[in-house]
Symmetry: C2
Subunit: 363 residues, 2 copies
């Protein structure tokens, strides 16, 4: 059960520096830590208020904030699933839940063999541990050993039609706590697009949506998070971008909780605003064996990135996470072909030469 939770935890997509939280932390979760979290989350604070007033006052506040984030994440998961189901028209999501009171609350949703979506995974998870290890807090060594709570929504969509791009989105929230001290919290997330056949106007729409949602939060946000995304989703052994990028961010905790939370909401909602119109616009494009074969070939790159470079995936698998949950991101069908080269001047070659080169789409 521990490994199951651990794996699910990784569905929050540990792209960030949180290396070895998930395993030992949960395993070692002491009763007192669980009780504390239970109290915190349940708001049953009166009994302990007198003896630890500062701590509880803070925790009470934090509990409210966390509940807000959790409520939003659950709403977001529901909304994404609803929108995708409505668009697909054929298939629905099936759900698997794993709940351990005070430890985890995970809700995995999967659609397969849809009209549009060959596979779509939309996962919510909320897990806690009693010791954020040093390696998980390398940028902030003062957090080592703190209790933590991590929650998020992770989305990976593999459409059937090769003219529809694969997409990935994630929003996540972390709180690292220590009795008697200020909690430290931060958000992370983003979304990125992986087309098989590139459309200039879709790429511009995708990035315009990203830019627009970032705008109220600061002039530099879009270009900063766009670059972070290009850097992270780069398949180094192929010298290729995984796709056309989007947004990627981590360690977001300024200027204040509400502003950061608003940004997360904008990213979560913005993903749908960015992705769904592309699906709607391209869904009726006809495709044949040639396009399907190219899609399956390019999906191999997705597998390579996720298994070789994605820090969270790799670490999760190597430390005993639940593989079925971690590997939900892998495409349902894939092929490899040695020494494949796209025909010069073909749409396949254009993907490599134009779309998979990180660039300013809004220039």
């Amino acid at each position: 059960m521990n490994s199951l939770l651990n794996g699910h935890f990784f569905l929050i997509k540990i792209f960030f520096n949180l290396w070895s939280i998930h395993n030992n932390a949960l395993k070692n979760c002491s009763k007192s830590s669980l009780e504390r979290l239970k109290i915190r989350n349940g708001g049953i604070l009166r009994g302990q208020k007198n003896s630890q007033s500062n701590q509880l006052k803070f925790m009470n506040l934090s509990a409210q904030e966390k509940e807000q984030v959790k409520a939003f994440l659950i709403y977001l998961q529901d909304k994404i699933c609803q929108e995708l189901t409505q668009l697909d028209e054929k298939e629905k999501f099936t759900e698997q839940c794993w709940v351990m009171k005070g430890k985890s609350d995970c809700r995995s949703r999967l659609m397969t063999k849809g009209r549009l979506f060959e596979q779509a995974g939309v996962n919510f998870s909320d897990v806690c541990g009693n010791a954020l290890p040093h390696s998980a807090s390398s940028r902030r060594p003062e957090l080592a050993g703190r209790a933590f709570q991590a929650m998020g929504v992770s989305v990976v969509i593999h459409p059937l039609n090769p003219y529809l791009p694969t997409s990935h989105a994630n929003v996540r929230f972390f709180v690292a706590e220590k009795p008697g001290e200020e909690p430290v919290w931060w958000f992370g997330g983003g979304f990125d697009l992986t087309p098989f056949y590139g459309f200039e106007e879709d790429a511009i729409h995708w990035h315009k949506t990203a830019q627009a949602l970032c705008k109220p939060f600061g002039k530099e946000k879009y270009s900063q998070y766009k670059k972070w995304c290009d850097d992270y989703f780069y398949i180094k052994h192929r010298n290729e971008a995984r796709g056309i990028g989007g947004l990627f961010f981590d360690d977001l905790n300024t200027p204040d909780f509400n502003t950061c939370f608003d940004f997360i909401k904008a990213v979560g909602e913005g993903f749908l605003t960015a992705y769904l119109p592309i699906i709607e616009k391209r869904q009726n494009m006809t495709w044949g064996k040639k396009e399907r074969e190219f899609q399956l070939y390019r999906r191999g790159r997705y597998v390579e990135f996720n298994l070789v470079w994605d820090r969270g995936t790799l670490f999760g698998l190597q430390t005993g996470g639940r593989s079925e949950s971690i590997l939900m991101s892998l495409p349902p069908r894939v092929r490899w072909e040695c020494n494949y080269q796209p025909e010069a001047g073909s749409p396949e070659a254009e993907l490599y030469n134009h779309f998979l080169k990180p660039k300013d789409w809004l220039a």
Copy 2:
């Protein structure tokens, strides 16, 4: 070109401890080192004999031994390709060569879309570098920084018919040298089988062949190398063996060169004795969509092992090796299915319950 060679070097299958040889070593290959290797391999020793008699005397001997190994490896590659071509009846191997005098001599052979073999790669490579890094010689720190030569043959066969097992074989030879000191050399290699549908008698034949070829070399060899194989080809995140094992060994340099070389020959030839009869026996079994789907699903495990756990593959990709060569081991078509469970009592369930549990097949 360097990365191309480096990638090819990895086709020797760096399962062993040679971590970071391939990249910087070749890049930094100095002219003097290259000259030395050229002289050594060409046997043009007279001109320098007087000034460095001990060294050259030793090198002359070593050159002969290395030439013997190289000749055997080239013979082995040819023989494996011939036997597979003969068996396939439909397709032949295509060849790609990369030769840089004194640096590398690589010959990659690939068959695709055969009658029996959906993809078969049989690669010979011979590369040298001027500095065996410390990380590549962790078991023998005294070798750090030595010049080295590494040669080998690596085979990965993905049959089309799901009743035919995937197989992998490798033999390799390393020499680490330092002017004025004894060279250190060692062999490594082995072969392992990955069935999709298990046949008890095939597993017994496979291991009997392995046992028989080990027998002249010592009572414990088979059980020792069989266990090493089970341990190495274990997919930890799935708690499953990759297949039914076989032999895996490294650091082989006792009691003497000739005995070790004889063992390598026995392993190389033994692979064909072990594999070909299984292909011949099962090639006409009829299969349908169900079996093909299971094969594609199980091939996902092969991908997972190679990209997540195989040290050589992972290191090669993460340090800039030639990805096309490194990833030749990946199956041509693969699928993933979340939460798949084989039907109780089915041949698919039997694979998990009986064949993928490491055991003594000859008990």
